[in-house]
């Protein structure tokens, strides 16, 4: 059995096949009544959470920083895309892709100075800077009446399952290729020891900027998708609680692992739906699961491991197993 699983795991065509099948399924869902609207929204939420998780994992897992400001990038993406879809663009097929792209770009532009700040401090102090960033974004939006202030905005419902799936694939593809590139090694080296990495000739600043900007871009993309599915956004939807939720998913799934991000996001989102009858008690149970997981498996479900499908063939065979 394990041999069979092993050969499936090492199959190089399995991932493209899965992606194509998935894409065929979501497109079919769009045209035929396979799923009801509720299941569709749950699946879209799963997709958005996968994007959030994978992009935060780049900074928190692969680079080993502790950013708590991911909901801030979400907010930037959500509001930028909402401006596009409500005020600036006429309704057309390109409304959503343009809005999402714009949301990502705005988030990436703001993510850049945050990367600059990370040159000066790291660890806990960087966590605090990202927290301050999150709070500043939230209260700035609350004070701009053009953005609706505390009352929020009501963007049209445009996000569809195929678009979400498309962005999930793009996110995972980009981050996977980044992680297994020269920059990926630089990012991992920074996590292990920044000073030593610097001494070995790793371009620490470039790698940090790249990681932060990529991460914030996809955070913005996820926010944009979120804004176009929920019908309503306000500054309160992007506060520290939202950031905590993303952190819970990332560390539940496991750090430095794209497979872990997918698993964490799926488990968290589905459990949140399944436990719906429990009301607010579900937010007691989920953190409790996380605490127990941390006590017995401090690196999360897939921590520091990867689904073999994501690992390039040349890496698979020379990998050291701890």
């Amino acid at each position: 059995m394990s041999r069979f699983l092993d050969s499936v795991a090492r199959c190089r065509w399995a991932l493209p096949a899965l992606v194509s099948a998935g894409f065929a399924f979501v497109v079919a869902c769009e045209f035929f009544p396979i799923l009801n609207d509720y299941s569709k929204v749950v699946l879209i939420t799963v997709g958005i959470n996968i994007i959030l998780c994978a992009s935060l994992n780049l900074v928190n897992g692969y680079m080993g920083e502790f950013s708590v400001g991911h909901a801030g990038f979400m907010a930037l993406g959500a509001y930028a895309s909402a401006l596009m879809t409500i005020k600036w663009l006429p309704a057309s097929f390109f409304e959503l892709p343009m809005g999402v792209l714009f949301g990502g770009v705005v988030a990436a532009l703001i993510g850049f100075p945050l990367a600059l700040l990370s040159f000066k401090t790291r660890g806990d102090y960087l966590a605090i800077i990202t927290l301050a960033f999150l709070m500043i974004v939230k209260s700035a939006i609350e004070n701009i009446s053009y953005l609706g202030g505390p009352r929020g905005m009501t963007p049209p419902v445009l996000t569809t399952l195929p678009w979400t799936f498309f962005w999930v694939v793009v996110t995972l593809w980009v981050i996977r290729n980044l992680v297994y590139s020269k920059f990926g090694r630089a990012i991992t080296a920074i996590r292990e020891d920044e000073i030593a990495a610097n001494a070995m000739g790793v371009r620490v600043r470039e790698a940090k900027i790249l990681a932060f900007v990529t991460s914030s871009f996809f955070g913005g993309v996820a926010g944009a998708l979120y804004a176009q599915v929920n019908f309503f956004i306000d500054p309160k939807s992007f506060d520290i609680v939202k950031s905590t939720e993303i952190l819970v998913m990332v560390y539940l799934g496991g750090i430095a692992s794209l497979g872990g991000s997918i698993i964490g996001a799926v488990i968290f989102t589905i459990l949140l739906q399944v436990l719906q009858p429990l009301g607010t008690w579900r937010m007691v149970i989920l953190p409790l699961i996380l605490v127990l997981l941390m006590l017995f498996r401090p690196r999360g479900i897939m921590g520091m491991r990867e689904l073999p499908w994501f690992v390039p063939a040349r890496e698979l065979f020379k990998r050291l197993r701890p």
Binding site: L117, I128, A132, N143
Partner: protein, 294 residues
């Protein structure tokens, strides 16, 4: 104009002393374990709720001081219990696991309270406040009590840390945690005691906050707790005096921001201040950078 400023200063002292008390808990724990105890804000919230339970449920009317001591004892024990159950097994694990566990514990406490009491509660009047007026300034006896109790606790903590064996052990652990056990100091017991004292101060702050602003809710731990955490960082996390300084600075800035600007700018200003301080003094006003070894 001057009177208005002086009046606001009194309010700032009241808020600042509460922030300072909570910030002390963050800073003490960071000092000994180099870990941000994200559950601390929720212990602060539980302090207010414990006070509510003691004041409402008990048939006898306890005097103010007894309630304060009981709240500090209960919350302190709870803090030590959380350390024992959730943080100690992770002492050798990656540091971020402990932080995530702390976040998880905070969420569990907050949402349990929220599920048990979904609506904001009101703390009964424990202390009949009188308004004093002199030289045009009004100050209530409640404000004097809050500032007095907070300052008393801070002075007590300062004495505890500087004059007692426990304080010396605590300072030694934050100075060099690896060598301290070799000197025969029971590190685990000292860490438990640190959590007990820090959480007790947080609980006292929760009660004082409840006296000052009687509407208490399960989410106030997040709101006020994160603010106090910022205060600890402004002062330099890990530094006891820095936490007090940061608390009063943050309280002052917040009260003045609301006094002179629209109140919606309050968070914007306090967090921008935090960012500005961290850019120019990356380790806080009284903190020092950690030693980095390759």
């Amino acid at each position: 104009m001057f009177f208005y400023l002086a009046q606001q200063t009194i309010n700032a002292l009241q808020l600042g002393s509460i922030y300072a008390l909570i910030a002390l808990g963050y800073s003490m724990v960071y000092g000994v374990l180099v870990m941000i105890n994200f559950a601390h804000g929720d212990l602060f919230m539980l302090g207010a709720f414990a006070c509510l339970l003691l004041a409402v449920l008990l048939p006898v009317h306890l005097p103010f001081v007894v309630i304060l001591l009981l709240v500090m004892l209960v919350i302190g024990l709870l803090g030590a219990l959380i350390e024992r159950v959730a943080y100690r097994p992770l002492r050798d694990a990656p540091r971020v696991s402990a932080i995530i566990t702390a976040l998880g514990c905070g969420l569990v406490i907050e949402n349990t309270t929220l599920s048990l009491s979904p609506y904001p509660q009101f703390l009964p009047t424990l202390f009949v406040s009188k308004t004093l007026t002199f030289a045009g300034l009004t100050i209530t006896t409640l404000q004097i009590l809050i500032i007095g109790v907070a300052l008393g606790l801070m002075v007590g903590l300062d004495l505890l840390i500087r004059k007692t064996g426990f304080g010396m052990a605590m300072r030694a652990i934050s100075f060099d945690a690896k060598t301290v056990p070799l000197m025969g100091i029971p590190v685990n017991r000292m860490i438990s005691l640190t959590f007990f004292v820090g959480a007790g101060l947080g609980g006292a702050a929760g009660m004082l906050y409840g006296l000052a602003y009687p509407q208490i809710s399960a989410t106030m731990g997040v709101l006020i707790g994160w603010k106090a955490f910022i205060a600890a960082v402004i002062g330099g996390i890990g530094s006891i005096r820095g936490a007090v300084l940061g608390g009063f600075i943050l309280g002052g800035v917040e009260v003045m921001a609301v006094a002179y600007l629209p109140s919606t700018y309050r968070d914007l200003i306090s967090y921008s201040l935090l960012l500005a301080i961290l850019i120019f003094k990356p380790y806080g006003l009284l903190g020092h950078p950690p030693n980095q070894k390759v």
